[in-house]
């Protein structure tokens, strides 16, 4: 069994090839976000280095979000195209769950934090002693609010992800449970980590619908958000009007 794993949800562009027991190749670049240009050539490169052709693949795994909207779409459209053309299944894994797999074997809980801008992080909480198991559902949340939740849980936690660089000081100041930050080699997205989960999904037969699969953005588009706020405003205004009319 051979799986191609694609991770392009943030700055990192990472692709990996694995079989049931081994990572055959991984290629990760943490430089600039030009995923649309680099991703397919990277896939082509690791396939050739591994002496494989596309028809040797049994499945394609891809992170389904959260993350950069555009980055997610580039990875997922690539996965969709490959699976459509090769007629193989797609495995879709949460970006945060795949990140947590960087720290498999840890005794602390794992909190992957991705910079979601607007003073928020995309995060969740995982037990990753073995394959990651979700303890808190994933969300977009303010970092202080999130630390509050972790403090209330009262358990030790390891942080990783690109938001560590953004919020390390804030975390150090506000957190009351034992904590650590992942080292640089484990800090960011890795398609090898994704492929560890993908192998488990493959064996369990957990596949996504190739055609229907869409990213889990965890956020509305700006236009939708603004429209909802406006509708809410109008609604509360008309409620006030209705109330004053009753009086």
């Amino acid at each position: 069994m051979r799986i191609l794993a694609i991770e392009s949800s943030a700055l990192t562009a990472s692709v990996a090839l694995c079989d049931e027991f081994n990572i055959l190749a991984q290629y990760s670049v943490y430089h600039k976000k030009t995923h649309s240009q680099t991703l397919l050539p990277m896939i082509d490169e690791i396939m050739r280095m591994s002496e494989l052709t596309p028809s040797d693949l049994d499945a394609v795994a891809v992170t389904k979000g959260p993350g950069s909207f555009t980055g997610l779409r580039i990875g997922m459209a690539s996965a969709k195209g490959l699976c459509l053309a090769l007629d193989i299944p797609v495995i879709a894994v949460s970006t945060l769950e795949a990140l947590a797999a960087n720290l498999i074997g840890s005794r602390e809980n794992i909190s992957p934090i991705m910079d979601a801008r607007r003073n928020q992080v995309y995060t969740g909480l995982y037990d990753a002693l073995r394959l990651p198991k979700a303890l808190e559902k994933e969300r977009a949340i303010g970092i202080l609010q999130w630390i509050d939740i972790l403090n209330k849980r009262g358990e030790a936690v390891a942080f990783l992800g690109d938001a560590v660089a953004v919020h390390a000081d804030t975390i150090a100041k506000s957190i009351k449970v034992p904590f650590r930050f992942a080292s640089a080699n484990q800090l960011l997205q890795s398609a090898a980590s994704l492929s560890v989960i993908a192998v488990d999904y493959y064996k369990k037969g957990i596949f996504a619908d190739v055609d229907g699969l869409v990213p889990e953005y965890l956020r509305l588009s700006q236009a939708e958000r603004e429209r909802q706020e406006k509708l809410k405003e109008n609604q509360s205004e008309s409620n006030v009007e209705a109330q004053s009319a009753e009086k």
């Binding site: 649309s36 909207f69 969709k80």
Partner: protein, 346 residues
């Protein structure tokens, strides 16, 4: 270019540059085996225009079903496809990226050639589909949301620019005016419809003429004149007619487009003239241009309505001639929102 007979070439074409997700299978550049378009108009209508992020999200949902439908309707299996053509610009970058990533993955998986197609080259090639006898050289008026230009199609994939807009594109003016007079999105068809009930002579909007370049266009003054007219009426408390403004505005745009086209006919002794781009769906423009060109003894070509709006069949047609010209793109093909059509300036 001389087209050697290489037998049957089937191109799978993908287009996602704006608010339509489209796929098609085109044989030898001229025969459309399927042309599937999933329109997003309903999605964007409540926002009064195309919302780029929503368009990109919708493309993700639609892309695979649209491609599968195009293959099924054509009765073609993927191994029988000879090349993948995809619009890689210009357009909305996030929207383009979905089609480009998908096309690259399919081309890579199948080991087939990949061809990036300029959206406007697709619009020009739409004319080949229904007119088997149309071959370069010929002249074309290209009018869309981003372009207004008169060109000479010297050969397949070879263009000379004769005149272009100095400011707004014609389609852009349609969209902006439609919003200003409360018609909303999509501006082109809505103005077309409203204008049928209005008086095209009700308001005398300006027809800009550029002194030293009689084939160039300018539409920003016209757009401002429409806005000023409405503001003026409202300040004076005078009511104005949406239909009359739509009709008078459309009349002014079409006047200018036709005037410059006929100027080009006179200057270059044109015998064959094609209309291309989204605005070529405009009823008045099609009719007026046809009658003027007819009277001048010039053959007029224009795609049917379904091939005027964004579609993938036209990308397949243009992709075929690029394929025959030996053009191949690498797996590093990128979406380019401001991609320019390489052109010689005359």
């Amino acid at each position: 270019m001389k087209i050697d007979n290489l037998g049957t070439i089937n191109i799978l074409a993908i287009e996602s540059s704006c608010d339509e997700t489209a796929a098609a299978v085109v044989q030898n550049g001229r025969k459309v085996l399927s042309n599937v378009i999933s329109s997003q108009i309903a999605l964007h209508e409540i926002y009064g225009g195309v919302v780029p992020e929503l368009a990109s999200r919708k493309h993700m949902e639609n892309i695979n079903p649209v491609i599968r439908q195009a293959l099924a309707q054509a009765g073609i299996k993927l191994p029988d496809i000879d090349a993948i053509a995809v619009t890689n610009g210009p357009g909305l970058v996030g929207a383009l990226l979905v089609g480009v990533a998908e096309a690259k993955a399919i081309a890579y998986a199948l080991g087939k050639p990949l061809i990036g197609v300029h959206h406007i080259e697709g619009h020009i090639a739409a004319n080949y589909i229904e007119h088997p006898d149309l071959e370069p050289p010929f002249f074309a008026l290209v009018v869309s949301g981003g372009h207004s230009m008169l060109i000479r199609v010297a050969d397949y994939g070879s263009y000379e620019l004769l005149g272009s807009t100095r400011d707004d594109a014609a389609g852009e003016a349609f969209d902006k005016v439609a919003r200003a007079i409360g018609l909303g999105y999509p501006g082109g068809p809505k103005i077309d419809r409203a204008a049928r009930k209005g008086d095209p002579k009700a308001i005398d909007f300006p027809r800009a003429k550029i002194e030293d370049a009689p084939l160039d266009f300018s539409f920003s003054g016209l757009k401002s004149a429409v806005l000023n007219y409405i503001n003026g009426c409202e300040m004076k408390g005078v009511s104005w007619s949406q239909e009359d403004v739509a009709a008078s505005f459309q009349e002014a745009v079409v006047d200018v487009l036709v005037r410059n086209s006929m100027e080009a006919v006179r200057e270059y002794g044109i015998k064959r003239f094609a209309l291309a781009g989204g605005v070529s769906a405009n009823t008045l423009l099609r009719a007026r241009l046809e009658s003027k060109l007819d009277a001048a003894g010039v053959r007029f070509f224009c795609p049917s309505l379904i091939l005027c709006t964004d579609n993938a069949a036209m990308i397949g047609a243009a992709g075929y001639y690029a394929y025959m010209n030996g053009i191949r793109d690498g797996l590093d093909l990128n979406a380019q929102p401001n991609l320019e059509l390489p052109m010689e300036v005359k």
